[in-house]
């Protein structure tokens, strides 16, 4: 039972405001782990800390047993930790082909190639094609991203994260803002992720959470409230109080 991702007493404060309190999260290899909590609980902050966008005040982060607390963002990606953004961070003027191509090139170590033109390496093209096909983006591969429907953009967001062949994938609200009609594709894409990839999912959509996760952590005010199997968490009175106390959620 190896741990794919672990935090040890992670702390983050902005000025006087503690947004992450003594967080010790353990995510097993191959797990489908969900992180839920009311708005403002600090879920995206946790992802930012895990990926290195934010530096913790204290505590450690371990990826597959080795410490990455001080590692810069791009190095973590190359180590196998990838993420998606809650609000699409895509390139409006680049095509899916280019965006995925970029991720694949970097991952395969050809990102700093300045002499060869793009598209001249067969094995890179292979991976790009495979990735685009899996996320049903082949027919849109030469369109500018800004012209794609939002659901397809969200798929692209996930595709780019997967293109880096991560071992741990952090999904920040993948279904957020996606219209009903396109949700299915997102859910299917998330469900079809390979089993050897560990996934940490942040979501508000409880249907998605309960159908996907085999373990759920509940974050409130930056601290872990409850953690366990989905049905345990669903029955927990504290969780109910947090959610019902906030009013209707998801």
């Amino acid at each position: 039972m190896t741990l794919a991702l672990e935090t040890v007493h992670l702390e983050k404060a902005f000025g006087g405001l503690r947004v992450t309190r003594d967080l010790s999260l353990k995510i097993e290899a191959g797990a489908r782990h969900a992180l839920i909590g009311p708005n403002g609980a600090g879920k995206t902050t946790v992802i930012n800390l895990l990926t290195g966008v934010l530096k913790p005040n204290s505590g450690e982060i371990l990826l597959e047993g080795s410490e990455i607390t001080g590692m810069p963002v791009h190095k973590r990606v190359l180590r196998g930790l990838s993420r998606t953004f809650q609000i699409n961070q895509l390139y409006p003027d680049m095509t899916p082909l280019e965006t995925v191509g970029l991720a694949v090139s970097e991952h395969l170590g050809h990102g700093s190639d300045w002499w060869r033109r793009m598209g001249t390496r067969g094995h890179i093209n292979d991976e790009i094609a495979e990735n685009l096909a899996r996320f049903h983006l082949l027919d849109a591969m030469n369109e500018r991203t800004s012209t794609l429907p939002y659901g397809k953009q969200r798929l692209l967001e996930i595709a780019v994260a997967i293109a880096a062949k991560p071992r741990v994938l952090l999904l920040d609200e993948p279904a957020a803002g996606v219209p009903e009609s396109e949700r299915h594709d997102i859910l299917a894409a998330v469900a079809s992720l390979p089993r050897d990839v560990t996934v940490l999912l942040i979501e508000h959509d409880m249907d998605l959470v309960f159908s996907f996760a085999d373990r759920i952590s509940v974050l409130v005010n930056g601290a872990l409230l409850v953690e366990g199997a989905p049905d345990e968490v669903a029955r927990d009175p504290q969780v109910k109080a947090v959610y019902l106390g906030e009013g209707a959620d998801a």
């Binding site: 966008v53 990606v77 953004f85 082909l97 300045w114 033109r117 598209g119 500018r144 800004s146």
Partner: protein, 347 residues
Amino acid sequence: MSGEGTMQSEVGASAMARARWRWPEVMFWLLAAAAILIFPNRYLLLTEIAWLGLFALSLDLILGYAGIVSLGHAAFFGFGGYAAGLLALHGVVKEPVLALIVAGLAAMVLGFATSFLVMRGSDLTRLMVTLGIALLLRELANKFSNITGGSDGLQGIEMQPILGLFAFDMFGKVGFIYCLVVLFVLFLLARRLVNSPFGLSLRAIRNNPLRASAIGIPVNRRLIAIYTVSAFYAGVAGALSTQTTALASLDGFAFERSADLMLVLIIGGTGYLYGGLIGAVIFKLLQEFFSAITPQFWQFWIGAVLIVIVLIGRERLHRWVMFVPRLVAGQFARAGTSAVVSKGETL
């Protein structure tokens, strides 16, 4: 879409399509070469356009492709210029092409050394730091006048024949061909660079640095790399100006030079490599035109042009005034040198 083979080749074909040479590009260079024959008594002006274009190209590499704002790119221009001048004056490297390369490398080292300064802080800090570096160099050049000739500049430079074969003539014909060839070679290099995975990653960094690092791109390393390359190009441009005029002066470092360079790029447009070249042509023509009206105060009109362009908005102005050139440039963009294809792209 059936079978892995077709998919893979489609991906490859699409990716490579951008980098193909289209006829407008070919036309541009043929025209440039033809200028040798068409304008036999304007070689001096043409030479200035050539190295100014190269200088603008160097700025486009960092501004248009990587989004680095610099008010002091003249630092590398002046440095390369003095390096080439000193090499020739003291007979250290007699052959011009070799001296050119050495001068470019010198500027490149300077670029690398200062690149770390430029990585930190906001756009505003970058403006300040780059400006400060250029002014600093000017001060140094001024103070160490025993080496640099101070405000009189480096004089008495005598240029040896290029490659030992082609002597600089007094009409400037050899000088122009020399500049044009250098420009073309470096342009080809830049074109390769821009269409490579490296070039794509630069665009990604410029558009969204957060996303770029989340893809695994080592942002700072790439920026330092392109900044260094850009310094090389700027240094070569400075060296060319020294070699073709046999004079190096403090003007090379002047703020006005960095400012004029910005104007050149704005006129021509950033992000598709030809902007600097086209902008250089137009700027020089404007300069000629204004100098004919008010010989001493043409900078006044340049300032007015700058103000008008900014007020109207670069995008809108481009659409109105440059309709035909834009059509041509659009062909260039499709031909695969473009980083920016949309309108409404702000820097």
